[in-house]
């Protein structure tokens, strides 16, 4: 499994430590957590699956793009795969930079691009045991995501 993907609960503290440096004045940690709203019904957990090799490659590209745009920012990311109970984090993005503007911008970019591009899917597991796929979005970077130019 690549450094970006894990089947264990996410340890945000270790991600914060990984990007820490004497030069950093602002650190942003974003957690995407599994939520349940009344209209979702009896969702006990979400199961995440991925095209692992391509997810890792796409995350490499996203982090490299962030490094090019915010060269002084250090970024760490973990996406959890497998079952994630309600309330727990499915993804964490941490960015540290000399100033908070870059830290916020880099973190926002990485989570937004992750949601737009990375081949990861989710299935809701209900309390009854029934599972249903969650509707996704056509990935950015694909012809479908561009509205199918050809």
């Amino acid at each position: 499994m690549s450094a970006w993907l894990t089947d264990q609960p996410i340890d945000v503290g270790s991600l914060i430590a990984a990007v820490a440096s004497d030069g950093s004045g602002g650190t942003v940690a974003f957690l995407g957590t599994v939520r349940r709203s009344p209209e979702d019904g009896d969702v006990a957990s979400i199961e995440y699956s991925a095209y692992r090799e391509m997810a890792a490659a796409e995350l490499d590209r996203i982090v490299a793009e962030a490094a090019a745009r915010w060269p002084d920012a250090r970024v760490a990311l973990r996406h959890r795969l497998g079952g994630v109970p309600t309330g727990e984090a499915s993804v964490a993005v941490v960015a540290a930079a000399p100033h908070r503007a870059e830290a916020f911008a880099a973190a926002r970019f990485v989570i937004d691009e992750t949601k737009r591009r990375v081949p990861i899917w989710k299935r809701e597991r209900l309390g009854s045991g029934v599972a249903r796929w969650v509707e996704g979005r056509p990935p950015a970077g694909s012809e479908e995501g561009r509205g199918g130019a050809r």
Binding site: G32, Y48, S49, A50, Y51, E53, M54, A55, A57, E58, H79, S90, V91, I111, T114, K115, R116, R117, V118, P119, I120, W121, K122, R123, W133, V134, E135, G136, R137, P138, P139, G141, S142, E143, E144, G145, G148, R150
Partner: protein, 96 residues
């Protein structure tokens, strides 16, 4: 499918390439499998791989232009394929 012929040999017809087709999530569930080997004529594109998949019954549920990936990168339908390439049909994504 030319099961025994090496790629490129035209002993009994056009040269063929062999690609690995990957399915995921709702597509894999509908197809009942996650992987298949496809033999296509040399010069085939990602669109040709998709056309081969569309001959299967489960593929009626595919959108008009499903997202395609070749060797772990999103690819336009016109992307040329080479022997040994990995082609994936990517269902709408829901990560992050």
């Amino acid at each position: 499918m030319s099961a025994g012929a090496a790629p490129g040999t035209g002993a009994s017809g056009p040269a063929m390439i062999r690609i690995r087709l990957l399915l995921f999530a709702s597509y894999a569930e509908a197809a009942g499998r996650e992987e298949a080997a496809l033999a296509l004529p040399a010069g085939a594109t990602a669109a040709d791989a998709l056309a081969a998949v569309r001959r299967e019954a489960w593929a009626a549920r595919l959108p008009p232009q499903p997202a395609l990936a070749v060797n772990r990168r999103y690819a336009a339908p016109g992307t040329a394929l080479a022997d040994g390439d990995e082609v994936a049909l990517i269902p709408p994504v829901a990560g992050g």
